[in-house]
Structures are given as C-alpha cells and as structure tokens.
C-alpha cells in the first residue's frame, strides 16, 4: 500500500511521437484511480510505465515516496492483471497463484496458507488443481486476480481486465473487483476504455486524450462539469448532444430554441458568435410530463422526432437537425477521436418511458437552459463550467448539501485556468478516498451545481 505520484511523465517513442505527454498525477494511498480514454490515448502506456514494463522518457515516478524510474518491474512490488490474463498454461491454478511467492522464496506452508486464502476470497478453491485451459473466461480472470492479491503488493494495476469477458460476466466481475479493492484497501490503478467501468469503479477518473491528461475528477464531476468538449463527449452514454449555438443579441440560439446568454459566458467569448452547446440526453423531457413547479425553470419547444427507441426503463428519441459546416467539421473530428463515426447531425433525447411521443410525430420537449454547457469550438474549453466544482473533489461533494451558497469556492486561480492540458494540481491535492462515498450520499436527482450560477438573470 503506497501512494503513486507522477511528475511530468512523458513517453516518447523512437519516431518522436509522444504517447504520454507531460502527465502529472497523484494517486493517494488506497485510492481507486481509473485511467480512461479512447484507444491509443496512452492510458495503457502510462500504466506500463508505472509497473516498469515501459521506460520513462522523462519525469519522475514515485511509489510510496520513492523514485522508481530505474527500478526493474520485480523491484517495484506492484501486481498487475493483464488484459489477456497471462496465466502460465503449464502450471495449475494453485501454482499460478503461488508463482510470485515461489519467486520470493516463501516457505511451502506459508504459500499454501496464502494461496488458499486468496482462492477462498475469489471462490477458486475447487479449481486449484486444474490447468488454466480447463477454466472459463471468468475463472481465468479470477486466477489472474488471485495471482495479484496473493502477495502484499504496494498497488494493483489492472489493464482492461474485463474486456475479454462477455457483457453479463463483465458486470459481475466489475462489482467483484470493487468489493475486493474496498476490502483490501490497496491503491489501484485501472485502465479501461469502458466508461461504465470508469464511472462505477473509480474514486477518481483520469481522462486521457492523445497522451495528454484532460481532466482528473470524481465520476460525478466529470459527468456534470466536464472541463472540455472531449471529456463531455467521452463521458456519458448515450453521449452528450452537441448543437451549434449562435450568439445573437445576448441570446444563445440553438436549432430549436433560444435562451439568454449567461453572463459569465458572455465575458469569455469575446467577439466569436458561434459556440457548441452540450446537452445531456436526459436533460430534455417530454413537456407534458414535466412537473408544474419545475416547468417554469425551463423552456419548451417543438421538434420533429425521427425515430424512437423504447427500452422499458427509458426511451430515446432521435431528432435530426441542421448544423453549420464549421460546427460539423469540429464534431466530426471529435467523433473520430472518440472512436465513433458521425453519420448525421442528430440529437438524442432521453424520455420517460411513459411518454407518448412516437416516431415521425411532432413533440413538445422541455429543457432547463441552466443545464446546457457551452463550449468554445476552437479550444474545446467549457465556458459554463462551474468553478466551484473544481474545488477539491472531496470538499465539493461532502459539502454538497450546502452547495446552494453561490459564493465561489476558494479554488486556486491556477486550477481554474488549467484548460485542456494537465490539470491535476488542484484535484490531486484532494484527499480523494473520501470522495466516492460522499458523492454517493449526495445522490439526489439534482446535480450539485447550483442553478443560480448558470441561470440567465
């Protein structure tokens, strides 16, 4: 158990391409940190640099306060679960789990005790004498985890451990990993491209893009206060809708509605008259189903629904719209980075399953404009980001009940200015383990972002 500190870590490959670019990240003792991003963003490379399988081009890697840049993997006392498990096929499950202990020269009795203990934890006891090839995917995955937990490692590293499992098993193993981590309370770094894993497992999540750290925050903050267009588009499923937002006469004109331009945004945009608006699908609602007392907070508008998808627990409606060429270009680029493909400009609206809105029909939707994020298309910066949300995650969430106060939190000025590059300084300082349970307890339907700050006056 040890904290892991990364100071300006960079990895440059032979062709000069920086796979990981100036990443600074502090992972507290016992914290569950997720590294997430689209494929090729450098998250696995970063993990492999922590464990020592990849050389560090520049920067310092500290584990438990000790610089480990030049240490061999075996001297770092970390354990790792590989994507393909990397079990030794010629050894039994017992010997696979015992392997790290055997290398350390632990006595046979001690090995037996510890392997059996790990096997009990992971419910592998009856498989101990079998070979990996006789096990199912989920069992193999557990063996790999057994091999990781059997010795008292300083930290656990997971490299997309669930990506080889089918969807159902993945869900089960995900909770299993979380339970294990909570019980052992060991620092954990977990690489994934699956945002469900990222959101559910992590105390904090580090979003990476092209080797650069975009934002490090609690899952809740990432979702509600993304730092930039990339994070906003990456986190959330179905993804955030991006609409062209023309600025005219202090009004934000979206394809279907317009609302007054928030003051703090007006101060930032200068003379640019075209922004990108980001709206989560669930922030729309069927206006006929909106509570009376809530209705006044938002605007209603009419759209033509193209297709609806009814899933039982929710319902999605697709609304096509036209967007200017410039915005389309930005969005297509963003989609490509997010491993997606933009076929048409359409808006996804998440509706109550009780809604009677049907395919091809005209529908009246409701939206609270204070929930709309505005992004600068050139820099991708979120102009409506609530500065308070950037305060150390733990304090922000633990004081969520009192967050109606509109006074800006005393967040360091430098951190709010940290736009798209590395912004760990402020969030890293947070005593993060407290943040996850805290954010859970604050889990009312309302976001912690106080409405007042975003609302048009």
């Amino acid at each position: 158990m040890a904290p892991i500190t990364m100071n300006h870590i960079t990895k440059v490959y032979g062709d000069g391409y920086p796979a990981v670019n100036d990443v600074s990240l502090e992972i507290a003792d016992g914290e569950f940190m997720i590294l997430v991003g689209p494929s090729g963003c450098g998250k696995s490379t970063l993990l492999r640099m922590i464990v020592g399988l990849e050389d560090i081009s520049s920067g310092d890697m500290l584990i438990g306060g000790e610089r480990v840049n030049e240490k061999a993997p075996r001297d770092r006392n970390l354990s790792m679960v590989f994507q393909n498990y990397a079990l030794y096929p010629h050894l039994t499950v017992y010997e696979n789990i015992a392997f790290p202990l055997r290398l350390k020269g632990v006595s046979d009795d001690e090995i037996k005790r510890r392997v059996e203990e790990a096997a009990t934890t992971l419910e592998l006891t009856e498989h101990l004498q079998r070979k990996p090839s006789q096990l199912s995917g989920g069992q193999r995955q557990r063996v790999a985890m057994g091999r990781a937990i059997v010795r008292q490692a300083s930290a656990f590293l997971f490299d997309e451990p669930l990506s080889n499992l089918d969807a159902k098993l993945r869900g089960q193993m995900r909770t299993e990993i979380l339970r294990l981590q909570r019980r052992l309370d060991t620092t954990t770094v977990y690489v994934t491209h699956d945002q469900t894993e990222a959101m559910t497992l992590g105390d904090r999540v580090a979003v990476m893009r092209k080797g650069v750290l975009q934002q490090v925050a609690s899952p809740r903050e990432l979702y509600e206060q993304p730092l930039n267009l990339f994070v906003a588009g990456f986190i959330g499923s179905p993804p955030m809708n991006f609409l062209p937002a023309a600025i005219e006469d202090n009004q934000v004109k979206l394809p279907f509605l317009s609302y007054p331009l928030p003051r703090e945004v007006a101060a930032q945009i200068g003379d640019s008259d075209l922004l990108i608006a980001g709206i989560r699908p669930e922030h729309f609602a069927d206006s006929s189903l909106v509570d009376e007392h809530k209705r006044d907070r938002g605007t209603t508008f009419e759209v033509k629904v193209d297709v609806t998808e009814w899933l039982g627990s929710q319902q999605y409606a697709y609304v096509p719209f036209e967007a200017p060429e410039e915005i389309n270009r930005h969005l297509a680029e963003l989609q490509q980075e997010l491993d997606g493909e933009q076929m048409r400009t359409q808006m996804i609206v998440s509706l109550d399953p009780a809604s009677r809105i049907r395919d091809g029909a005209k529908a009246e939707l409701w939206l609270d404009p204070s929930r709309v994020h505005l992004f600068d298309p050139r820099t991708g910066k979120n102009l409506t980001r609530d500065a308070k949300a950037e305060a150390p995650a733990a304090t922000a969430t633990s004081s969520a009940s009192g967050s109606a106060s509109s006074a800006p939190a005393p967040a360091p000025a430098s951190s709010s200015a940290a736009a798209s590059s590395t912004a760990p300084a402020s969030s890293a300082a947070a005593p993060a383990p407290a943040s996850a349970p805290a954010s859970g307890s604050a889990g009312s339907a309302e976001p912690p972002a106080p409405d007042g700050s975003l609302r048009p006056t």
Binding site: V51, G52, L53, A72, P73, R74, L78, S79, M80, F82, Q83, N84, Y85, A86, L87, Y88, P89, H90, F99, P100, L103, K104, K131, P132, S133, Q134, L135, G137, R140, R147, R151, N164
Partner: protein
C-alpha cells in the same frame, strides 16, 4: 428439400472415396521401399535373388551379422554420440538466438535472419572439398568434433527459424507477468517461456537430430576410420558375413537398425510436437 439432400449424398461419398484412395496411394508409395528393405533384411544372403518380395526363409542372421561387425557397432556408437551432441548444442544455441530474435530489437536482426536462411539453402556439397582440406590442417579430420561442427552449423538456421516462430507466438505478457511477479529476466525465460516453447524445442531437436543422423556427405568425406564414421557412411563400406557374397541383405539389416530409433522418436514425441501447449494461456 429431400431432393437436394439425396443429390448431395453421392457427391459426398465420391469426395470421400477420392480422399481415402489418395491417402492409400501415398502410404503405399512411401512405405513400399521400407517394406522392401525390411523383407530384404530378413532374407538370407543367398536368397537375395529369389525373385519374390518375401523371403523364402525368414532369418535374423543379417542382424546377428551386423551386430557382430565392429564396423557397424562402432559406427552406431559414433552416430548416436555425434547426433546427440550436435542436437543438444544446436538446440541450446538456437533457443537463445531465437529468443533474442523474437523478443529483442537490435540492429542487424534482419541481416542475421537472412544470413541464416542463406546458410540453410546453401548447397552443402560445395563445402565438402574445402572442409576436407581445412579439417586435415586443423586436425579435426576423422574426429567427432569434425562432424559435430558442420552438423550444428547447418541445422542452426532452420532451428532458429522454427524456434523464433514459436517464441513469437507466445504472448509477450507471459514474460511481463512473470517479471511483475518478481522474476528476473532469466527466471522469466526459464520458468515461463521455455516450458511454453517446449513443443517448438522438441520439433527443433528432432529436426536437428535427423539431419545429423541421416547425413551421408559429410560423414563419408570427413572420416576415414571407425573413430568417427557414422552409420550411413559405414553402410557403404559393408562387406557382409563373407566377402564372397553380396552384402545387400546385411546392409538392409543395418538400415533397419538405424531407422527404428527414428520411428520410435517420432511416435513418442509426435503428440508433444503437435500438442498446442499454449492453449488456454490467453483468452480462448
């Protein structure tokens, strides 16, 4: 629907009979010479011209003869010793070389591989003359090392190619997992990689052993006495029980004696060669 089913059935039957017929043809073609040698080895020397495939009288006299001849027994000893030593050296060197080629990125990797291939296809006979002169000059002529050296150098390229293909198939993660688990590079190699490459190592060992075991050109050129002469060369000097008879039957017996170990070897190890030991190592 039933119509199409009945239409496909005769077609399938025809395809099946063609493949079975083809298999029989190949087996007969390859086994006939061996069966012939076997029957020859069981004929008495005088029975050689009985104009029948099978001997008139079955006899083991030829086997007694070859094992009584020091020419043959010495050659057998040389064959076993030289082939085994050449195999061991070849496999060990090839394992290290192949591992380096498969895993490490170093300048000249391509050159080494292409050179190895060039050596593998180089006509060995072209070297015989110069080797003969050289070995006599450096006192390697008619010695075990005199044969082991060319055997090792000519089997190495193929061994390296086979083994590096095997090593490349083993996931990198195996070794990295071992290193993270606390193994040194050497431990990771011996405890994780070599056991996984075992089928490859066996295959290579058998190829190397065969090459040395059945070589005739080097053996006949670089030896002159029983000191280092191997069986294939020795058979050429065979005179049989009496020098007034054709030694054909005795030579046939000798040939059978040296073929048997090869057959046993293949039968014993074929499962290991074929078995995919890596099954289950990764997702699957």
């Amino acid at each position: 629907m039933t119509g199409s089913a009945t239409a496909t059935r005769p077609k399938q039957r025809r395809q099946r009979s063609i493949s079975v017929g083809g298999a029989i043809l190949i087996v007969v073609y390859t086994m006939l010479p061996i069966a012939w040698i076997l029957s020859l080895s069981l004929k008495s020397p005088g029975d050689l011209t009985n104009k029948k495939f099978l001997p008139s009288h079955w006899t083991l006299a030829n086997y007694r003869t070859v094992f009584k001849t020091s020419l043959f027994t010495d050659a057998l000893r040389n064959s076993i010793g030289i082939s085994l030593i050449a195999t061991v050296i070849g496999v060990v060197v090839a394992t290290f070389a192949a591992y380096a080629i498969a895993r490490l990125d170093f300048p000249g990797k391509r050159v080494i591989l292409s050179l190895a291939l060039a050596i593998a296809i180089f006509p060995q006979v072209a070297l015989l003359g110069s080797l003969f002169s050289m070995w006599r000059a450096v006192k390697l002529y008619d010695t075990w090392p005199g044969l082991i050296i060319p055997y090792v150098s000519f089997t190495l390229p193929l061994s390296i190619w086979v083994l590096s293909a095997f090593f490349r198939e083993i996931p990198w993660e195996m070794e990295q997992a071992a290193q993270v688990d606390g193994a040194t590079a050497w431990q990771a190699f011996t405890k994780a990689i070599v056991p996984l490459a075992a089928p490859g190592v066996f295959t290579t060992a058998i190829i190397a052993f065969f090459a040395a075991w059945q070589d005739f050109a080097f053996a006949i050129t670089l030896t002159s006495t029983n000191r280092a002469r191997t069986v294939p060369a020795a058979l050429a000097f065979f005179t049989g029980a009496s020098q007034f008879q054709q030694p054909t039957t005795a030579i046939a017996a000798g040939a059978i004696v040296v073929t048997v170990p090869i057959i046993i070897l293949v039968l014993v190890f074929q499962r290991r060669i074929v078995a995919g030991l890596t099954a289950g190592a990764v997702k699957g």
